[in-house]
Subunit: 618 residues, 2 copies
C-alpha cells in the first residue's frame, strides 16, 4: 500500500482506481501512535513565531457535501508530503450519532483521510463523552435543586448547603463565594448572613419555564426530542417538559472549542446560563455549585488529540460544535498549538463547517475574535455538481441517483451557478484575506466546465482558482492547490476586518450579517424581540452573533439557490450560549437531535473477532 518517502513520518500512497471504500484504504495503512497533545506545549513554544493560518470553507453545498474535509486533508498531504512544508491539519471530532445513522463517518474520503478512521469516528479519546457527562450532571442538578427548594424552608436549605462540621462550624465551599459576590454579599462566614441574605443565597428560585439547558446524548434518538421528566412517584408530581439534543449541540462543546486555557474554561463553564430566576435574573452553573466539577470532568478534553493523514502528516482533532446553533469550528486551543508547532513558514489548515456564509463567517467573527489570530488565506471549495445546482439544475437528493445533468457536460448550468461562488468570494474577501478557490474534481467533470469556474472565480476577485483531485490521488492531487495557498499566504498583509463591532446592538449585528447574506431586511418575531430585550437587559448584548441558519442557501429558504437578494431574513427566536460567548438567533427551525433511518449504517458495522478490525464503517 505504501512506498518509502524521504521524511520517516511521511508515507507515500500507491493509489488504486477506481478508489476503494474509505475503510479499506484506511485499514491498509499502519498508523503511528495516537497521543494527546498537552495544552502546556503552548507555554514551551511561547517564543516561537506563528505559521500561516488557512481556513477552508465552501460554496453553498448540495445535500451530498462538496468535500471540504477531504480538501482540508488533501491540501495538508500535499503541503507536507510533496511540498516539504511543516503542516498541521486542525479538524473537528465528529459526533458518533451520524456514524451509526445515515451519514457515516467524517474523516475525509478516498486517499485523503484522517486515520485511524475507526477511532476518529468512534469514541476517540472520549472528549464527547466527557461533554455528555458534564452537560447531564448540570441538567440533573437543575431539576434536583428545584425539587429540594420546593420542599425545604430557607433555613433548612441553608443548613443542608452549609452543614456544620463536628465542631459546629460552617463554611462556604469556594464556588459558593462566587454566588455571594454575584449577590453583592461581602461576607464569608455563613453564620453572619442575615435571614434575608440566607434566602437570597440559598434560593435560586429557578423558573422552570425559563430553563434552556437540555440533556444530551451522542446518539440519534429522535424519541428524546421532546419528553416529560419527573414522572416517578418519588418526584412528587414535579413533572416538566424538556428534551435531549445530540451531545455536540451542548454549549459545553462550544465552550471547549472557544476556550483559550484551563483557567478560561473554568470561568466559561461557571458562567453558563441555564435559565432565569422567577425575578428574571440569569442562573448560572456556578450558582448551582458546579463550575469546578464541570471543569474536572473536562480536564482531559481540553487537550487536543494528535492523529495523522493517510500520508503521515499530523492532524489535531479537537472539539466539534454544531455549525448552526453553535459556530461549527474546531478548537482555538488546537489552532494555537499548531501555529506554534509549525512555526514561521509552516501551515495550519482548519475547516469551518457548512458553507462559507456560515462557517467562514463564524470563523472570522467569533473564533478569530476570541483567539486574536489572523488567517492569511481562505479557501472556498467548489464542485461542478453544486455549481450546476445553483445554475438551475434539478434537485440533488441524498440516497437518490443523480440527474443526467450532473454526470455529463453542461457548461451553461455551471456558468449560471457561479453567482453563488462569486458571492462567497466577495464576502470572504471582505475580511481582508486572500481567497483561493479549490475546484474539487469528480470523474465526470470536464475541462470546459472547470475553465468556466476558474474564470468566474478570478473575475470575482479570487487570488487563484485551482483544480484538485486529492480524493483519487491523495496529496499529489492537491499540489497545485498547495502552491496557490503558499503564494496567497506569502502575499497577504492586511489585518482582519470583522463584519461588525461587538459594541453595536444585537439587532445591528444581526442586520450586518443579514446584509452579508444578501437579505433586503430582517423581520423579528415577538419572541425574538422579547429575547433580545431580555439579553440586552441582562448585559449580554456585547457578545458576537452566531446565526442558526440552513447551509443550503444564502437565505433562510433551502430551495433559494444561487445568490438570492430579494428576501427578508426572519428571526424566529433568539437564544444564547453565555459561557461559550455568543447569542444565537434562530432563522427557522433547527433540529438538534437527528433520527435513525429504517436501515441505519449500523447494519453493516461489525468487528472481525479474530483480528479485532472494524468492518463496514463508511
Amino acid at each position: 500500500m505504501t512506498t518509502p518517502a524521504p521524511n520517516p513520518t511521511i508515507r507515500r500512497l500507491d493509489v488504486a482506481s477506481p478508489v476503494p471504500a474509505d475503510i479499506d484504504i484506511a485499514n491498509a495503512v499502519e498508523p503511528l501512535h495516537i497521543a494527546d497533545v498537552l495544552l502546556s506545549v503552548l507555554d514551551k513554544l511561547q517564543g516561537q513565531q506563528d505559521g500561516y493560518y488557512v481556513v477552508v470553507g465552501g460554496i453553498t453545498p448540495t445535500p451530498l457535501g462538496e468535500g471540504k474535509s477531504t480538501t482540508t486533508v488533501g491540501l495538508c498531504q500535499a503541503l507536507g508530503a510533496f511540498l516539504d512544508k511543516k503542516v498541521v491539519t486542525c479538524v473537528r471530532q465528529p459526533s458518533q450519532g451520524p456514524t451509526f445513522g445515515i451519514k457515516g463517518g467524517a474523516a475525509g474520503g478516498g486517499y485523503s483521510q484522517v486515520i485511524p478512521m475507526d477511532e476518529f469516528n468512534l469514541h476517540m479519546t472520549g472528549d464527547i463523552h466527557a461533554i455528555t457527562a458534564a452537560n447531564n450532571l448540570l441538567a440533573a442538578a437543575i431539576d434536583t435543586r428545584i425539587f429540594h427548594e420546593a420542599s425545604q424552608s430557607d433555613k433548612a436549605l441553608f443548613n443542608r448547603l452549609c452543614p456544620p462540621n463536628k465542631e459546629g462550624k460552617r463554611r462556604f465551599a469556594d464556588v459558593m463565594l462566587r454566588r455571594l459576590i454575584k449577590l453583592g454579599i461581602s461576607k464569608t462566614d455563613p453564620d453572619e448572613l442575615t435571614p434575608e441574605e440566607v434566602r437570597r443565597f440559598a434560593r435560586l428560585d429557578i423558573d422552570p419555564a425559563s430553563i434552556t439547558w437540555r440533556r444530551v446524548m451522542d446518539v440519534n434518538d429522535r424519541f428524546l426530542r421532546k419528553i416529560t421528566v419527573g414522572q416517578g412517584p418519588e418526584e412528587k408530581g414535579m413533572v416538566r417538559e424538556t428534551g435531549f439534543d445530540i451531545s455536540v449541540a451542548s454549549e459545553i462543546m462550544a465552550v471547549l472549542a472557544l476556550t483559550t486555557s484551563l483557567a478560561d474554561m473554568r470561568e466559561r463553564l461557571g458562567r453558563m446560563v441555564i435559565g432565569n430566576s422567577k425575578a428574571g435574573e440569569p442562573v448560572t452553573a456556578d450558582d448551582l455549585g458546579l463550575g469546578g466539577a464541570l471543569t474536572v470532568l473536562m480536564k482531559d478534553a481540553i487537550h487536543p488529540t494528535l492523529m495523522q493523514t493517510l500520508e503521515g502528516t499530523p492532524v489535531l482533532v479537537h472539539a466539534g460544535p454544531f455549525a448552526n446553533i453553535a459556530h461549527g469550528n474546531s478548537s482555538i486551543v488546537a489552532d494555537k498549538i499548531a501555529l506554534k508547532l509549525v512555526g514561521k513558514g509552516g501551515f495550519v489548515v482548519t475547516e469551518a463547517g457548512f458553507g462559507a456564509d456560515i462557517g467562514t463567517e463564524k470563523f472570522m467573527d467569533i473564533k478569530c475574535r476570541y483567539s486574536g489570530l489572523t488567517p492569511q488565506c481562505a479557501i472556498i471549495v467548489a464542485t461542478i455538481r453544486a455549481l450546476k445546482m445553483h445554475g438551475g439544475g434539478p434537485d440533488v437528493v441524498a440516497g437518490k441517483p443523480l440527474d443526467h445533468a450532473y454526470v455529463s457536460e453542461n457548461v451553461a448550468l455551471v456558468e449560471a451557478g457561479c453567482v453563488n461562488l462569486a458571492k462567497h468570494i466577495s464576502n470572504t474577501k471582505g475580511y481582508g484575506v486572500n481567497v483561493v478557490v479549490a475546484i474539487n474534481k469528480f470523474a465526470t467533470d470536464t475541462d470546459a466546465e472547470m475553465e468556466v469556474v476558474k474564470k468566474a472565480a478570478m473575475a470575482a476577485g479570487a487570488f487563484d482558482a485551482v483544480v484538485c483531485s486529492h480524493h483519487a490521488h491523495g496529496g499529489k492531487g492537491a499540489v497545485d492547490l498547495g502552491v496557490a495557498v503558499q503564494r496567497a499566504c506569502e502575499s497577504q498583509a492586511e489585518p482582519l476586518k470583522f463584519l461588525y463591532p461587538l459594541d453595536s446592538s444585537i439587532k445591528e449585528k444581526i442586520e450586518s450579517i443579514a446584509k452579508f447574506y444578501g437579505a433586503s431586511g430582517v423581520e423579528y418575531s415577538e419572541q425574538a424581540e422579547k429575547q433580545i430585550e431580555m439579553y440586552t437587559k441582562q448585559g449580554f448584548s456585547n457578545l458576537p452573533i452566531c446565526m442558526a441558519k440552513t447551509q443550503y442557501s444564502f437565505s433562510h429558504v433551502p430551495s433559494m439557490k444561487g445568490a438570492p437578494s430579494d428576501f427578508v431574513l426572519p428571526i424566529r427566536d433568539v437564544r444564547a450560549s453565555i459561557g461559550a460567548g455568543f447569542i444565537y438567533p434562530l432563522v427557522g427551525t433547527m433540529s438538534t437531535m437527528p433520527g435513525l433511518p429504517t436501515r441505519p449504517c449500523f447494519y453493516e458495522i461489525d468487528i472481525d473477532t479474530t483480528t479485532g478490525k472494524v468492518m463496514g464503517l463508511s
Copy 2:
C-alpha cells in the same frame, strides 16, 4: 512521602497519623503510567499456570461500609510490598454518579488506595461511557423501529432494509442472516423470500408494553427515573413511558463483566433481549441489526485498565456491574489475565460487591460458573461497628454521628452480633473454600472486642481470623492477613461446590438461594409467576440466578440484622439479562437511578488551574 524499596516498582509509604484526606494521600504519590492490558496477553500466557485466586466479601454491612475495597487493596499491598509475592488486585470501576453525588469515590481509603484516584473515580479509559453509548444506541433503535414499522407496508419496510444497489441487486447484511436463521428461513437471496417470509423477516412487531430495555446515563438524575418519550410533533403521538437507569446498571456492563473473549462478547451482545414481539417471542439486539455495531462500540472496553496501589503493586480495573440487579463482580477477563500474569504461587485478589450473601454467592454461582475458575480462599471482612449493630446496637445512619455504643468498648454487643459473621462463614465454606476473616480495625476498637470476634470466627469454621490496620498503615497493616491468606490458599484442595445445578428449575434455584439466606420459604407474586413461566417457555430456565436483594440483611428486610431465619422471601418480579446470562428475581424494590442530595459532593470538587490537580474528591 515515600522511601526507597527493594523492588523498583514498589513504593514504601511514610504514614501520618491521624490519616490525612484520601485525595491528599493519593496526590502525594507520583504514579507510574496507566495503560490498557490487552486481552491478547491471555494467548501469549496460555502455557502459564494460574496463581491463587482470592475473593473478598464482607459481613452484612452498616450503611457506612465496612472497608471491603480498602481491605482488598491493603492485602495486596501487604502481599506485594512486604511478603514479596507476585500479586494483582482486580476491582470494579465505580460509577461517576456517586463521585459527584453522596458517596464520593471508591478507590479504597487512607493508605490503601488505587491511584491515580481521580482517574479511577472519573472517566478512566471510558469503558462506562462506551456502555452508555452502546446501551442508548440500542434504545434509540427500538423506538425508531417501532415507529418505522407502524408507518410502512411489509414491502416498503423490506425495500428499505434491503435496498437494491445500482445494479438492482439486493443483499442481506451479515447480521440479517442471523435473524433469518432464527426464523428458520434458510434463504440468503432477498429476492427469493415469499411475501410471508418478507413479513416475518421485516416486522419485529415489538410489543411496546413488553420492552425491558431502558436508557442509561452515568449521572445521578432522579428526574429520569420515569419519563415519557416521543412527545415531539414528528413522532406523531407514539409516546411511551420508560426511564433511565444509571449506566452501571446496563446489561451491557454485566456482559462486559461476564464475557470471556471478543467473539463471546459479540454473541452475548447480539442475544440481549429487549422485549417481546406481540406473539410473545423474545426480540434481540441482533434482530434489530445491532450486535456487530454494539461490539464495535465496546471493542476497547474489553481490555482491562492497569492501575496501581499506593505502594506500587498492580491493579486491574475492569467492569463495574450493579450488585443487586446484576452480579456485582469485576470482570472475568481481568481475573483470567491476572491469574496468568502472577503465575504459580502468585495471588489474584478480587472484591465481590455487597455482603458475602450476595457478592460472594454471585461470585461463585455466576462468575466462577462462567469463567471455570476456582478460588482457593474467601475473605470475609468484618468490623466491630457492624457486629455491634448485628448484636442489637442502635441504628447506624450515614451523615449522622455514631452512637456511643460504637465508639467505646462493648464486648457483649460484639459477641451477640457474631451470629451474622458465623452464618457468612458457614455459607461461604459451603462452596468448599477456606474462609479467612479480616477484622478491619478502627481506632476505637479494643483488644477484648477483637478477641471475641476471632474466637467466634474459628468456632464457625474459619481457617483463620486476623486483625488488620491497612487504612492507617498501608500494606504493613495487613501483613498478618497476607500470611493467613497464603496459608489458606496453600492448604486448599477441594473443588468448587455450586449452590445449585443449572438444570434445576428457576423456582428450585431461587429456593436454594433463599435457604442459603436462612429463609423458611419463598413467596411469588402473580407477576413473578407469570415471568417465570414466560422465561421457562422461552428456553431461558437453565441460566443462573442473580438475586436482587438488599445488602443490609440476610433477609429482604433491611432492619432484620444478625442471622434471621423466620422469614419468607417474597419474589416481587422476575427479570432477565439474557445476553449477560442470568435471571434476576426482584426481592423488594431496587433503585437503579440514584439521586443527588441538596449539597452534592460536586460543591467541593474543583481544579487547580495552575497545576491541573483535582481538588475535593473524596
